[in-house]
């Protein structure tokens, strides 16, 4: 296994951003050519249906994303029977709303409370609950988040603008297997009069990873 390396070795700027900080850079053109060549090759060989590629991309750009998870959370906030089912068997409860499948085959819902805050990470790669949250953001897949959140979750939360009471338990879930985790953030105060649709608008992606809180109506 890898040993700890000199931290200075990794002190270069966040590599995840190299491409889009330099649009039009020759490196970008080279990788575009490489990907185009690969797609041509695999299509010529009859391994891929180019139309299937378009459908896959469209699915994750327009159909599967964090609004799915927000609907699950809002339903759990307004319907205690649903919340109980969600905490007992999240895969089935999420499927009730029509969300299932790839990278969400085995779901667990984690309820945040005033005394316990849950945060999800995959330190080994980028495991993430696709059917409810879509594809992960860049920071979730980055070395800083994956390395630090298990060691210093309060420090990472501060970088997200979140400060929790010092006596709140923080539980970090490292998604090392094929179980996927969805955080149910606390329902903000002052939302008693809101219906499910209005509540779901308060549920941010980050609040369902655990690096954020749900918005208050005043923050909308």
């Amino acid at each position: 296994m890898e040993t700890e390396q000199d931290p200075a070795h990794h002190a270069h700027p966040d590599h995840e951003h190299a491409d889009h900080d330099h649009p039009g850079h020759s490196e970008l053109s080279e990788i575009e050519r490489r990907v185009r060549a690969l797609e041509t090759l695999l299509t010529q060989k009859g391994y891929v249906d180019p139309a299937a590629l378009d459908v896959l991309i469209d699915t994750y750009q327009t159909k599967i994303g964090p609004r799915n998870g927000a609907r699950v959370v809002a339903r759990a906030w307004v319907d205690s029977d649903y919340r109980d089912r969600l905490l007992r068997d999240a895969t089935a409860a999420i499927a009730e709303l029509g969300y299932s499948g790839r990278q969400g085959e085995h779901m667990i819902a984690l309820q945040n409370t005033p005394t316990r805050h849950n945060i999800v990470v995959c330190t080994l790669c980028s495991c993430y609950p696709w059917p409810v949250l879509g594809l992960p953001p860049v920071w979730y897949k980055s070395a800083p988040y994956r390395s630090r959140v298990v060691r210093d979750p309060r420090g990472v939360l501060r970088e997200f603008g979140v400060t929790l009471p010092s006596d709140t338990e923080i539980r970090v879930w490292d998604s090392t297997a094929d179980v996927r985790y969805l955080v149910i953030p606390e329902r903000p105060a002052g939302t008693d009069g809101l219906d499910e649709a209005a509540l779901s608008a308060l549920v941010t992606r980050d609040s369902m990873i655990g690096t954020g809180l749900a918005r208050t109506p005043a923050e909308m």
Binding site: H17, P144, R154
Partner: protein, 219 residues
Amino acid sequence: MPYMTHGDLGGRQGFGPVVQDADDSLFHAPWESRVLALTLAMGALGRWNIDMMRAARETLPDYLKLSYYQIWLSGLEKLLVAKGLVTSDELAVGHAPHPHTPIDQILMADQVPAKLAKGSPTTRPPIAPARYRLGQTVVTRAAPVDHPTRLPAYLRGKTGIIDRIHGCHVFADSHAQGLGEDPQWLYTVVFEARELWGAKAAAGHRVSFDAWQPYLEPA
């Protein structure tokens, strides 16, 4: 020869603060979305499994220098060559002078929604009772292994508590090596931060991971 992963980052230091992108888009260039789609479409052919793909990515020597979708692209190219679906000279020129490997069934556009909605569940019927019970104290395997594993280095040789039992699941370590599904009981094991990071770690901070039974020993 220990297995060399470059993806096992938990607890390592020196990567700096978490940077949230002002541009929160899913893809930062069109090629990134093509790499995602090519990976999913080729994965659907069943010539490799997701654990083999994870191993192909995390063993890339330049893993830490590559962006996320560069890692995906290099992992895909590596497996395509390793499984004999393309040759490295075909990758270099971008067309196919060699006869292709016959494929029974490829992923067609109209099959995509059902394929994604179905996913690939990893639960399997138990072949023996679970060795551990909820609340039991266990110790994780301390020794490194010479094959892909999902036991992170920062959790090796640590004492924790069985917090959840998830049933039997395809065992990633065996699956990644092409040794079949080898289903094993899967548990969530929870650790006090002080067990992982020493006495200075904050109280009320716990970390858990999902551990297949072979990762664990009774305390």
